[in-house]
């Protein structure tokens, strides 16, 4: 029993690092910028598709591909914000929600056309050989996913806490007017935040291709899960999003392992309902003082 439980825990952490990366990106776009982004899963898959184009089709080195994907998807996110989100800033929730729905319909079907409808794996340079630690099995690819996830999360943390841009972001989302008054270009911060969120989802997409396979149909469930995690983590709380992601991964794994795999996806939504009823500000957020 215990060995199985440990294996479930490790499985959960792997899934959880995907959730965490997705949610970290969405916490920026949805939590901080308040854009109900239904294209988040598509950004995720797009990361994998772009990586496939570079890594498998053009034969670019896998690690270099990661860098390229991050750069391209960052630019794509910035363009998306500039063209689609900025004109609707300050309008009803529904407007941005629908524009991102339009974007998601467009992206998913365009990807099916260009990438093809067949699932694909990335030519990642690690072996499929399992690494066995005691009773626990893990592979290089899975370890890599956890490591990249951790690196991306730490890098984001440093970016936000230590850099000029990070400070400008925090200032903008805490008190927009004051940020403008010290000279922060608030609109640009919004655009960069959106771009960062997009790139974050795209990294998860590359890992998806490296560890599993890339297929556009993954997008819808991924979007929903990311929303779930952001709520668990407390909307604007970035460390909370990471914790929420890992938590959901582990809970799902344990629930699937000991209760029912058929109902595995229910648990996240059930948690959302439960938490919003009793802790409306998320699991990891302090209650706002007032």
């Amino acid at each position: 029993m215990l060995d199985v439980a440990l294996q479930f825990l490790v499985n959960g952490l792997v899934t959880g690092s995907f959730y965490a990366l997705m949610a970290l990106g969405l916490a920026m776009i949805f939590g901080l910028m308040e854009v109900v982004n239904f294209a988040h899963g598509e950004f995720f898959v797009m990361g994998g598709v772009v990586a496939y184009a570079f890594c498998n089709v053009l034969g670019v080195d896998f690690y270099l591909t990661i860098v390229i994907v991050v750069a391209l998807m960052f630019a794509f996110g910035a363009a998306t914000d500039y063209l689609l989100i900025r004109p609707l800033r300050g309008q009803h929730l529904l407007s941005t929600a629908l524009v991102t729905i339009g974007l998601s319909i467009f992206l998913i079907n365009t990807m099916l056309l260009t990438f093809g409808t067949s699932p694909q794996g990335l030519d990642a340079p690690f072996s499929r050989k399992p690494i066995i630690i005691g009773e626990i099995v893990i592979t290089e690819g899975r370890l890599f996913a956890i490591v990249v996830g951790a690196v991306a999360i730490v890098a984001t943390h440093i970016l936000i806490q230590k850099t000029r841009l990070g400070r400008a972001m925090r200032a903008t989302f805490q008190q927009k007017e004051a940020a403008a008054l010290v000279g922060v270009n608030v609109e640009r911060v919004y655009t960069l935040t959106f771009a960062l969120g997009t790139a974050m989802a795209a990294i998860a997409g590359v890992l998806l291709g490296a560890v599993f396979v890339i297929h556009p149909s993954t997008a819808e469930l991924a979007t929903l899960k990311a929303f779930v995690v952001v709520i668990l983590g407390g909307m604007t709380n970035l460390p909370g999003a990471v914790a929420g992601g890992l938590l959901l991964g582990v809970v799902e794994s344990l629930w699937g392992g000991f209760v029912s795999t058929g109902y595995m996806d229910v648990i996240g939504f059930a948690l959302v309902i439960f938490i919003l009823l009793f802790r409306p500000y998320g699991l990891f957020a302090p209650r706002p003082g007032r």
Binding site: V36, L88, L93, A97, V99, I105, V266, L276
Partner: protein, 325 residues
């Protein structure tokens, strides 16, 4: 609130005459789908347009209507017409329960908790095979029939019969919505949407009216589910899915939310556009996504605002009177 009654009556007259003028089952089918989507989108519009809350769980009420209709007529052997009432009521009761829990939350949280409810329901429907027949759902849902004095008067073998039933549903929905909107009730709802604090200060209870609108929306979503079940004759778990939700949202946003004709226009335009884009084959949905983005960017208040926009530029006759309720 300028009355929208006259244009609606004109449309109704046109709709009654339509099957007499144009024949063709495919055309009839599309018109039926337009009418069906009108009911469905209008039901969401009561919540999103008039209370201003973005409910992503609305497909659940539609799904409940579908399943109630299927289970009552197939498993319990009830009459199709009794099932209609129950389908609406079942959805309304679900609306009450879910609304009671979710309407206390606001904005983003409301969006997500309603979505979570719909997803939980969908997954339960897939997994609880004993009751819901699982992913395969209910085939061969009977057609309605009208029996008078032991004789079948209307057997619904023709699309025209369904068309008129759908039209009656549309009329009931729009009438109920019209009454709602142009009553103390509707004014209270709009007041809540426009300024909840101020609404409270003149004695309006936001929770109560959000609830009324939510339950009313659920009821009509349930009715449309009933119609869908008997018209398509098959329901599966996809009726709870995000697909229908997105379709409704697109329809009210493209048509114009918070208006009575908006969802009518949206249902018609979207049904027709999706159909007309068939020529585009594989890129059909890509084009659709693109059109949707453009429509939201250029007409954020929906197509009902087009005459206003044109008038402001002097391209449309009439004085520049703005304001839709």
């Amino acid at each position: 609130m300028s009355s929208q009654r006259l244009p609606l009556l004109a449309l109704l007259a046109a709709a009654i005459a339509l099957p007499l003028v144009f024949r063709g089952e495919y055309f009839m089918h599309l018109m039926i789908m337009v009418l069906f989507y009108t009911v469905l989108a209008s039901s969401l519009n009561i919540v999103t347009g008039y209370i201003g809350q973005l409910s992503l769980g609305h497909a659940a009420f539609f799904g409940i209507g579908c399943y109630a209709a299927a289970m009552l007529t197939l498993d319990a052997g009830w009459s199709v017409w009794t099932a209609m009432i129950i389908a609406g009521l079942a959805a309304a009761v679900a609306g009450f329960v879910i609304g009671y829990i979710t309407l206390r939350l606001d904005g983003h949280y409301f969006v997500l908790i309603t979505l979570a409810f719909a997803e939980v329901l969908r997954l339960v429907v897939i997994n609880w095979e004993e009751v819901t027949r699982g992913p395969l759902g209910f085939p061969n849902i009977p057609r309605p029939s009208i029996v008078l004095g032991g004789e079948v008067m209307v057997d619904f073998s023709s699309k025209t019969h369904f068309y008129y039933v759908a039209l009656v549903l549309v009329v009931i929905t729009l009438w109920a919505k019209h009454r709602f909107v142009y009553s103390a009730m509707g004014r209270a709802s709009v007041a809540i949407r426009e300024n909840p604090r101020l609404a409270q200060s003149v004695g309006i209870d936001p929770f109560y009216y959000s609830m009324v609108a939510f339950v009313l929306g659920a009821f009509f979503a349930g009715l449309s589910g009933w119609f869908y079940a008997h018209y398509i004759s098959y329901v599966g778990p996809d009726v709870y899915g995000f697909g229908f939700m997105v379709t409704m949202l697109i329809m009210i946003a493209v048509g114009g939310r918070g208006t009575i004709v908006g969802p009518v226009i949206g249902a018609a335009i979207i049904t027709i556009v999706v159909e007309e884009l068939r020529f585009a084959r594989e890129i059909r949905l890509s084009l659709f996504g693109l059109l949707l983005m453009l429509s939201i960017l250029f007409f954020p208040r929906g197509l009902v605002s087009v005459p206003d926009l044109l008038r402001r530029r002097g391209w449309w006759p009439g004085a520049g009177k703005t304001g839709t309720a």
